[in-house]
Amino acid sequence: MIACPECEASVDLPDAPRLNEILECGDCHAELEVLSLEPTLVGLAPEVEEDWGE
């Protein structure tokens, strides 16, 4: 369990997290990247902007 850096919801960690693995927050659906393993830290993965409507 870890807190989502975007919205603070708790996010399940996989049994053996791998570095740079992408997780998904079930609440705000942010993509989280595993940044370090001991301790397990995650950060927001870069976001893709939609480009609707010019």
Binding site: E6, E8, A9, D27, C28, H29, A30, E31, E47
Partner: protein, 340 residues
């Protein structure tokens, strides 16, 4: 098993009540009225019900006695008849606007004529389980709120209640054509209404009164008809109170709606459907609620629902479930479709 009757059953809200109540495990539809179509099969007006019922419409004058009565008649048509309805049913769910506003003066201002049953107003509880569940458990007079009002109240109430926003808000509502009912006029001719972005109420849409009453906010509301049959979406603008931010808003909404069976918080950072949108809600009783802040104290709140379900008939059935102590989801399990 409760024996229920629907007044105004040939209309769109009446038809939706029929769809939901025919599939309800605890209710038996004992009568459905239509003046125009008395004697005709209900599946003539509501072709989706073919094969599911052999009911025919009866004239409103031939109603007998029922456990519950659902009124799906136009506003200003029920207030003068309420005393009569009260004689034939224990519990009344009025889907019209007549008993939603506690203050008859506000009613007059928004509906343009004096209220005809001021003395009955205090008997009514507003049919919004998210706000009034406890009182609804014992309520025999329920005034179900308007479709855009329900969306607006559910969008704004947690932020207002937690003091996260300042009291002045604006609402831009968008609605499909079924909101005008089955007896709509030439403005709803397909060739005119199709593809429209019709700002039919640039200012002072009626539902701002209900939203103001239930949230304590000062509301300015416009409404636009857009291309859709079902569906309402509200986009609300508020100013964050000093110290508040999107995170605090998220926490408040998460808490407020955690136990709600029909409100989902939808405020995602990825994906196509990041904020609430009605097209995936058609037929379902969900109201989705979301928000986004701009980092400079501007907060946008969005809610979406199906005007005929959570915006009307489904919400009334949910109120009935609360009133009778049935599971709140009974008869309301349809999830909505994607794609749609």
């Amino acid at each position: 098993m409760a024996r229920v009757a629907i007044v105004g059953g040939a209309g769109y809200i009446g038809g939706e009540l029929l769809r939901l109540l025919l599939g309800h495990p605890e209710a038996e539809v004992a009568a459905v009225t239509s003046t125009r179509l008395a004697g005709r099969r209900v599946d003539g007006a509501h072709p989706n019900l073919r094969g599911l019922t052999d009911l025919t419409f009866v004239d409103p004058g031939s109603l007998e006695e029922y456990d519950a009565l659902f009124l799906a008649t136009p506003h200003t048509e029920t207030m003068g008849r309420m005393t009569g309805y009260a004689k034939i049913a224990t519990t009344i769910f009025d889907l019209s606007a007549d008993f939603r506003l506690r203050d008859p003066e506000v009613f007059r201002r928004y509906y343009g004529l004096p209220h005809e049953a001021v003395d009955l107003l205090p008997e009514f509880v507003l049919g919004l389980p998210e706000l009034h569940r406890d009182r609804l458990r014992a309520a025999d007079r329920v005034a179900v709120p308007g479709c855009m009002a329900t969306a607006g109240i559910l969008a704004l109430r947690p932020a207002a209640a937690a003091g996260l926003i300042e009291p002045e808000v604006t609402i831009d509502a968008r609605t499909g054509s079924s909101g005008s009912g089955a007896t709509a006029g030439p403005e709803n001719l397909h060739a005119e209404r199709s593809g429209a972005m019709r700002v039919f109420a640039p200012t002072r849409h009626r539902h701002e009164a209900e939203i103001g009453q239930e949230t304590g906010l000062s509301v300015r509301m416009s409404a636009t008809g857009v291309e859709a049959v079902r569906g309402v979406q509200v986009l609300c603008r508020a100013r964050l109170a000093p110290g508040a931010d999107e995170r605090a808003v998220r926490a408040a909404y998460r808490a407020a709606y955690a136990a709600e069976p029909f409100v989902r918080v939808v405020a995602q950072k990825r994906g196509l459907y990041r904020l609430p949108e009605p097209k995936i809600l058609s037929g379902s009783n969900f109201c989705d609620v979301g928000f986004a802040a701009d980092g400079e104290r501007a907060l946008v709140l969005v809610a979406a629902l199906d005007n005929l379900v959570k915006g009307g008939a489904g919400n009334a059935v949910q109120c009935m479930n609360v009133r009778y102590g049935w599971p709140e989801r009974a008869g309301l399990t349809f999830a909505g479709l994607h794609p749609n």
